[in-house]
Symmetry: D2
Subunit: 278 residues, 4 copies
């Protein structure tokens, strides 16, 4: 049976759950799950429901609009695969993980294309029958490169763009084209070790734990809303290159788990934070 | 303001959340949080709500009874400290953890008494001004010992009994006096290594991870509903005595975290499992 | 420069490290690392050294034989890729992980062939240009099937055989052909949930943590020397199918990490245990 | 039998292990364990050995001096409890953990005294029969306060000073009195969230993992050599106060485990890093 995900964000007030579930109940829908949260700093109410049945989405939307505060943000989405474009550079491990999951129908997304600023990964991508586009940044300006990227991406009208170890910093202009739609994997436990070569930074600081962070991209370097983080122990015997190698396993799983949450509509973004209903 | 925890378990049917939150809404109560779950094997609906305000509990109970299926189990409890009795033997670490938390008001419980089948821990307990009772099992039958334990425990009418490394197996008779009220910490990752000296068993099996399990006690050895489990890595360099020593840190934290859930009314028991709303 | 791994196991006695390192020193070899351990139950001394230089292995072997007890087991191996054969059935995740690592030269092994008792994974394996052999067990006896498997495996003279979710139990006869050379990934935290469908067993027991175990295969079901274990938290909301799905990420990484240790000659097997120098 | 811990740090050269173990062997000492490491950036060789027997320490020292490079740092220490002084402020959890372990002989240290800049913890400390000194910073200058602290500490000639949630920043002068002898627990996963109220910083950044760091104190705020770090997962439902409460369990265990390494002579400090032989 069809499943619809309903996401609501609005100022909190008494009786919201009762009223919202009333709309579902009076339309004869099974509610598979409800989750709600009131963010204490802003007093915003968040709710995510999964409803089942022969859903008339316009009718549900009208019903909800009628009982919710005027500023309420309401989205209804059918549970289905998202269209995505992946950007990559030279490292394969995150891309490989996504290609394999996609190949076996485990990604909850259609990979429309992979775009690389280098061509190192073309061979891999082609093995899986996915189009690979090489858009080199050599010899052209940053703006020209991003214009080319933008055009290529837009051909596919993706719902999300995944930076799978894409080693260039996006310009503010490109980021603004895709608000809360770009997901990055950063190879450190943010906010520690922002910027280049975090494993080297970690090694030099002598930390005993390293990590990875999946986050939405905004226009502050490595500072968007965090989706998921994981860590692993290291010790003095490991060079930073060995840390980097070991860290790849963390990176690829953190990214895959974050994308599962994104593609399953489990996440609300509020300011620089995420509310995640797992 | 007063907070009331409402726990409901009943056969699932459409509209339950709408109807239940309706009772709260029409009585003008703020709902701090709701959590619900439908157990798929049994189709039982579980809900835990925290409501705030000048709550007339009888009125709420009547309201809920009116709209819920007849078999519904409904409990309303004011958020307050539980009365508990702790049983211990010779090892101090779990007891110490609970005494310290209790001393600083962090346990969400009143320790009415500690009862030991040995007197090793009397000195520690007395330092914290808690009554300690030594009920030796020497020279008397198992049944006589438990009869004495039972009498002493009953003096305090505790809501929960905590086995903080109490190294005797309770008889079925005693367990039946306190259904879902006895919590034990077992020093293995159950169901691995049931029974005596699990660290020795773990060492001999050559495992690379050891753990601890907090669970409700029923009449199958080390087999009650599991509340919480944690693990730690070990390697070939550790003797079983060293594993036991290292494992104590896991044991005491697992027990403390499990008790937090129990004393905060976060747990439903269904058959041999727990549903936990954290 | 060439690196040689020296592994020694012998009854412990005074001065072993001094004498062994003396052989290296007097032959002018750099010692990159030494690790040693005395197993207390058996009093066996284990040492693993990595030496560098223009190594005359026969000369080193003679030198060591001259100063070690007669029963000493000494192996010298040049750091190089191992030849392996992988057995699989229908599930792809462990195999995918190994194929990707192999494709990018990260496995420290040559995958000579993949053999499946079903043909589900042929398509995947072919994408990476690795030979896949389908040896069905349909309509033939267990012994006949293993005979065919054995013949095929032996064509490649592999140093190790990896069971990447191979869902058949090997006969004692086949296991004996490859002592300490077969590595299996079991989808539970052994010794919990031995045998079939451990995720279902875990679900029914209501555990809060599930795991995976990589181990050498011997002739006791799921009972060989454990190499590596990892776990993940689960809760009441997950069906056993969801646990199985989530558990795959643990399984594939545990297997990959165990194989890294195996292929890098980091492991000694002693009885039913492993001594691992990481 | 007496156990002696030998720690050596010197420029690396061929044959060091052979020569060092030769000194032990020719003096008829059992070697319980050896661990060594060459730091690649500085090419410094570190070795820690535990030797047993009727050890003539001067003879061993002379033997080692004779065969090691001139700049070698050699320390021999009998395995025995260290004398320590603990500084605290108002929070009890780290202090409680140390007092309990000390009370049961598990700390490998003698707590000579606890000094607080507030008197909140006097009652607790007195329960364990340990002297508590209240040295208020009220109404006096920072320098005067530290002078008083210094005098009090020096009465006890401690080998280590433990900052168990001591919430004042030590002056460079005081830090210099005790090089590599002061251990602090910082309530974040350093280098993230240096300085005041790291849990609030973590909450505001929306991280999904928080942690704690035990480190030696030097004259850069929260920047000394890291001994141990641990983390825990958090989510959007937790306020920073709840994060702080949950984080205390991590803090106290990280500190306890770090101190075990320190008091057991497992650590070398090199620049801003630690080499730890566990």
């Amino acid at each position: 049976m069809q499943e619809i995900i309903v996401k609501i964000a609005c100022p909190d007030e008494k009786g919201l759950v009762h009223k919202i579930t009333g709309v579902f109940y009076h339309n004869q829908h099974n509610v598979i799950s409800n989750q709600e949260f009131v963010e204490p700093d802003t007093n915003i109410f968040f709710m995510r429901s999964v409803i089942q049945g022969d859903v008339d989405t316009q009718r549900i939307l009208n019903g909800l609009t009628g009982i919710l505060p005027q500023q309420a943000q309401i989205t209804l989405s059918v549970k289905q695969k998202k269209n995505i474009v992946i950007l990559a550079t030279k490292e394969h491990h995150c891309l490989s993980e996504l290609l394999i999951r996609h190949h076996f129908g485990e990604l909850n997304a259609n990979i429309c294309a992979v775009i690389g600023n280098h061509d190192h990964l073309a061979e891999l991508v082609n093995r899986f029958g996915i189009p690979f586009y090489h858009i080199s940044a050599e010899g052209i300006s940053r703006e020209e490169h991003e214009q080319l990227m933008h055009e290529k991406i837009n051909n596919f009208q993706p719902e999300y763009i995944v930076l799978a170890k894409y080693m260039r910093i996006l310009t503010p202009w490109l980021v603004e084209q895709y608000p809360d739609q770009i997901i990055n994997i950063h190879h450190s436990f943010l906010p520690a070790f922002i910027g280049a070569n975090p494993y080297k930074q970690a090694y030099e600081r002598g930390v005993k734990i390293i990590g990875a962070t999946a986050h939405f991209v905004n226009n502050h370097l490595d500072e968007g809303p965090i989706i998921r983080q994981e860590v692993m122990h290291v010790d003095h015997t490991q060079s930073w290159q060995e840390m980097a190698q070991a860290g790849r396993d963390v990176e690829k799983l953190v990214l895959a788990k974050a994308l599962k949450l994104v593609f399953n509509d489990n996440i609300f973004v509020i300011g620089n934070k995420t509310v995640i209903f797992e």
